[in-house]
C-alpha cells in the first residue's frame, strides 16, 4: 500500500517536471495562438473600426456580408488557380530535386540540401522585389524573350499574373519540400528496388510502381502544406501586384489585411479570416479523403 503511494507520488513528480518542460510552449500557444484566435472569433461578431473604443455586436452580419460579397468567390477562384499551378510545379521540382540529391554521395548531401533551403529562409519582401525587377518589361527575363520576339506581362496580364506568383513561391518552397521527398525516398526499402531489377523492371517502372506509391504519405503532406500555403498567400502579391491586375492576384489574406488595416473593418476582416480557415480546412480534408492511402504496407 505504502509502496503504491510512493510510486504514485513519484509519477506525479515526474508529470510535474514534464509539464514544467512543456510550459514554455503551452504558454506560448495560449498567449500567442489561442487568445488571438478566440478574440478573432469574438471580433467577427462585432462592428469595430480597430482604432476606436466603440464596438457593437452585429452577430452574423459580417459573415453574411462576406458570403454575399462576390469578391469572396474571386479570391477562392484565385487561390484554386494558384494551388493547381503551385502544387503541380512544386511537386515536380521538389521531387526532381530530391531524386537528384539522392544520387549525390552522402557526404555532399548536406551541402546541396542547405543550398536549396536558402530560398526558403530568405526574406519574402527582398526576393519579391528582386523577382519584380527580373520580370519587369525591361527586366532580364523579358530581355531574353525579346531575342525570340516575345514579350510577356508577367505581373500585368490578368490571365498569367497568378501563375507568375506561383512560380516565385515554387522557387521558395522547392528546397523545403525537396527535403520531405528526400526523407520519403530514404524510407523506401532498397530491397524492393533490387527485387524489381531481378524481375526485369526498368527505371520508369520502378519509379511508377515503387517510388510513387510509397511516397504517398509525403505527397499527402506536400498537398496539405501546399493547400494551406495557397489559401494563406500574402507577401508576394502584397509586394508585387497588390491584388491586381483586375483582382487576379487578390487573395483572402490580402483582403483581410486590406479590410482591417486600410479600411478599418476589423469585424469583417475577422469574419473573412474564419471563413477562409473553414474553406482551407474543407480543401485539406477533401484531399486527404481522396488521396490518402492506409493500405501501403498491406501484403
Amino acid at each position: 500500500m505504502e509502496s503504491n503511494l510512493a510510486e504514485r507520488r513519484n509519477v506525479s513528480a515526474k508529470n510535474l517536471i514534464g509539464y514544467l518542460f512543456c510550459s514554455p510552449y503551452l504558454i506560448f500557444t495560449l498567449v500567442l495562438w489561442l487568445y488571438p484566435f478566440l478574440w478573432g472569433i469574438v471580433i467577427s461578431f462585432k462592428k469595430w473600426n480597430l482604432i476606436s473604443p466603440r464596438q457593437s455586436w452585429v452577430w452574423l452580419k459580417n459573415y453574411l456580408d462576406v458570403l454575399k460579397d462576390p469578391m469572396l468567390w474571386v479570391m477562392v477562384r484565385n487561390s484554386i488557380y494558384f494551388m493547381v499551378v503551385f502544387t503541380t510545379l512544386t511537386t515536380i521540382t521538389s521531387l526532381g530535386l530530391a531524386l537528384l540529391i539522392k544520387q549525390v554521395p552522402k557526404k555532399y548531401t548536406g551541402f546541396f540540401v542547405t543550398g536549396f533551403l536558402l530560398s526558403y529562409v530568405s526574406s519574402g519582401v527582398a526576393y519579391s522585389m528582386v523577382f519584380n525587377l527580373l520580370f519587369a518589361g525591361d527586366g532580364l527575363v523579358n530581355n531574353l524573350l525579346k531575342t525570340i520576339g516575345l514579350k510577356v506581362g508577367w505581373f500585368t496580364n490578368p490571365k498569367i499574373a497568378m501563375a507568375s506568383i506561383a512560380m516565385i513561391v515554387c522557387w521558395k518552397f522547392t528546397g523545403y519540400y525537396g527535403l520531405f521527398f528526400l526523407a520519403g525516398l530514404n524510407n523506401i526499402d532498397p530491397t524492393l528496388y533490387e527485387a524489381a531489377v531481378i524481375d526485369g523492371a526498368n527505371a520508369w517502372q520502378r519509379f511508377k510502381k515503387i517510388t510513387v506509391p510509397l511516397l504517398n504519405p509525403t505527397f499527402i503532406m506536400i498537398i496539405v502544406f501546399a493547400t494551406i500555403t495557397s489559401f494563406n498567400l500574402f507577401t508576394e502579391p502584397y509586394m508585387i501586384t497588390n491584388g491586381g491586375p483586375m483582382n487576379a492576384t487578390r487573395t483572402m489574406m490580402l483582403e483581410i489585411y486590406h479590410r482591417v488595416f486600410a479600411l478599418l473593418q476589423a469585424g469583417y476582416g475577422s469574419a473573412l479570416a474564419i471563413v477562409s480557415a473553414i474553406i482551407t480546412f474543407g480543401f485539406v480534408w477533401t484531399f486527404r479523403k481522396l488521396f490518402e492511402r492506409d493500405d501501403l504496407y498491406d501484403v
Binding site: 476606436s52 518589361g137 525591361d138 514579350k151 505581373f155 490578368p158 502584397y238 483586375m246 486600410a262
Partner: protein
C-alpha cells in the same frame, strides 16, 4: 545637525520642483515621412530643437516601413504605439482620424492665428484644411503634379510639348512602337489606391477647372470632364500608346515620352540620369479646353498633426510647432534639402525662396503651378473610395472590359453607396 538640515531642505526642494514639473523633462514621439531627403531634414531640425530645449525633448523617427504611411499609423494607433506628433498626413486621412477622436485641434492653442499669419498660410489652412470649424492639420508642403516630356526625342521628332489629348494621340501615331519598347505616355496602372490621385483625380481637376471630383455628400465626377479623360485613357491603351508592363524609370530610360511626376523626382533624376533632358508642363487637357485658361493640377500636400491627449506633451508639441513654422529659415532649409515647395502663400514672392528657385529652374516650373494646385477632395473615406474607383472604373477601362461611359456610371453608383454608408 546643520548638515542634516541642509540635506533635508535640498531634498524637499527637489521633490517640490519635480512635483511642479520644473525639473521634469517631457519627451514626445515625433514621426516623419519615410523619404531620405525628409529624413535628413528632420534629423537636423530635431537635433537643433533638442539642443536648445533640454526640458522639452523630441524622440524622432521615420514612419516605420509599410505599404503606406496610413496603414502603419493606423496599426500603431490600434496597438497603442502611435506617435504624439506626425507629418505625412493628407486631408482625407486626417478626417478619418478626427472621426475617431485621435487628433487635437490646433485652433485651441494660444497663438494659432498669429502662427498662420507668421507663416503666410492663413488662406491655405482656412480654405482647404478645416474640418467642421476646427483645424487639425498644419500643411507642410504642397507638390503640384506636372507632366515631364523627353525634350531630346520631341526635338528629334520636331514636335511641340503636347498640351491636349489630341496632341498626345498624334504624337503616338508618329512615334509609338511597342515591339521596340517605344511608348508615348506612361499611365500608372497599379491598383494602389493613392495612384488614382495622380491620374484620374489630377486629370479631372485639370479638365474641370479645379472642380472637386467628390465631396462629403456624393460623387461629382460622372460628367463630361470625367468622360473625356477616360475616353482618352481608353484610346491610349487600345492603341498601345501606354505600356501595360511595369518598367523601372521608363521616362528617364526613353521607354515613354511623357509621364506625370512630382518634384521629389527632380533630385533623383539629376543624380541617377544626369544626361536626361526634359521639359516640365502642366497636365494634359481635352482638345476643346480654352488656350487662355489656366490649367489646374492635383496638389500632393501633406501636413502635421498632433495625436497626444497628454496636456504636458501637447504643450511641448505646440511649442515645437510654433518654433518650426514661424521661422522662415526652416522652410528655406526644407526647400533646399527636399526640393519640395513649402505650403506658403508667399513662395513666389519672398526673396529667401527666389534665390533657390532661380538656381533650380525645374522646381521653379512647379512653383508656377502652385496657385492652381488643388489638394485632395475632402472625404474621410478616401482610401475606400479610391480602392473602389480602381476596381470599378480604372482597371476595367485599361483592360478594355467596360466602355468609359459605363465604367463611370458604375463607379458613381458604387462610390455613392460607400459615401452614404
Amino acid at each position: 545637525m546643520k548638515r542634516i538640515l541642509f540635506v533635508l531642505m535640498v531634498s524637499v526642494l527637489v521633490i517640490a520642483m519635480a512635483g511642479t514639473g520644473l525639473m521634469a523633462s517631457t519627451t514626445i514621439e515625433f514621426w516623419t515621412a519615410p523619404n531620405p531627403f525628409q529624413e535628413a531634414f528632420w534629423s537636423e531640425v530635431v537635433k537643433e530643437w533638442n539642443s536648445t530645449h533640454p526640458d522639452q525633448q523630441i524622440k524622432w523617427q521615420v514612419i516605420p516601413a509599410g505599404h503606406s504611411s496610413e496603414e502603419v499609423i493606423l496599426t500603431a494607433l490600434a496597438t497603442g504605439t502611435g506617435p504624439d506628433l506626425s507629418t505625412n498626413i493628407f486631408t482625407g486621412f486626417a478626417a478619418q482620424l478626427i472621426e475617431n477622436d485621435y487628433l487635437v485641434p490646433f485652433n485651441q492653442f494660444d497663438g494659432f492665428e498669429e502662427l498662420l499669419k507668421a507663416r503666410a498660410m492663413e488662406n491655405i489652412v482656412k480654405k482647404g484644411w478645416g474640418h467642421h470649424g476646427n483645424y487639425y492639420v498644419l500643411p507642410l508642403y504642397t507638390n503640384p503634379m506636372a507632366y515631364w516630356w523627353n525634350k531630346d526625342i520631341l526635338d528629334e521628332l520636331g514636335v511641340d510639348v503636347p498640351r491636349t489629348y489630341g496632341d498626345v494621340l498624334k504624337l503616338g501615331a508618329q512615334y509609338n512602337d511597342p515591339s521596340k519598347n517605344k511608348y508615348t505616355l506612361l499611365v500608372r496602372y497599379e491598383p494602389a489606391w493613392w495612384d488614382r490621385w495622380f491620374d484620374f483625380c489630377l486629370s479631372y481637376l485639370a479638365n474641370s477647372g479645379g472642380k472637386p471630383y467628390w465631396d462629403e455628400e456624393k460623387v461629382l465626377f460622372n460628367d463630361e470632364h470625367g468622360l473625356k479623360y477616360m475616353e482618352f485613357i481608353d484610346q491610349l491603351f487600345r492603341k498601345q500608346y501606354a505600356p501595360i508592363e511595369n518598367f523601372q524609370d521608363p521616362l528617364q530610360k526613353g521607354i515613354v515620352l511623357g509621364s506625370i511626376e512630382g518634384p521629389w523626382n527632380i533630385n533623383y533624376t539629376k543624380e541617377a540620369y544626369p544626361e536626361f533632358n526634359y521639359v516640365i508642363a502642366p497636365p494634359l487637357v481635352p482638345d476643346d479646353y480654352p488656350a487662355d485658361q489656366p490649367i489646374h493640377s492635383f496638389a500632393d500636400t501633406k501636413g502635421m498633426v498632433m495625436l497626444t491627449k497628454d496636456k504636458r506633451k501637447q504643450a511641448v508639441a505646440w511649442n515645437f510647432i510654433k518654433w518650426f513654422f514661424s521661422d522662415i529659415r526652416h522652410d528655406v532649409k526644407w526647400l533646399e534639402m527636399t526640393n519640395m515647395l513649402p505650403s506658403r502663400e508667399d513662395v513666389l514672392e519672398r526673396k529667401e525662396f527666389a534665390e533657390y528657385l532661380s538656381g533650380n529652374p525645374e522646381l521653379a516650373e512647379y512653383a508656377k503651378l502652385l496657385p492652381y494646385a488643388v489638394p485632395p477632395a475632402l472625404n474621410s473615406k478616401t482610401i475606400e473610395l479610391q480602392t473602389k474607383l480602381n476596381e470599378v472604373l480604372w482597371e476595367p477601362v485599361i483592360y478594355g472590359k467596360k466602355t468609359p461611359a459605363k465604367a463611370l456610371s458604375d463607379a458613381e453608383k458604387e462610390l455613392n453607396k460607400i459615401i452614404k454608408q
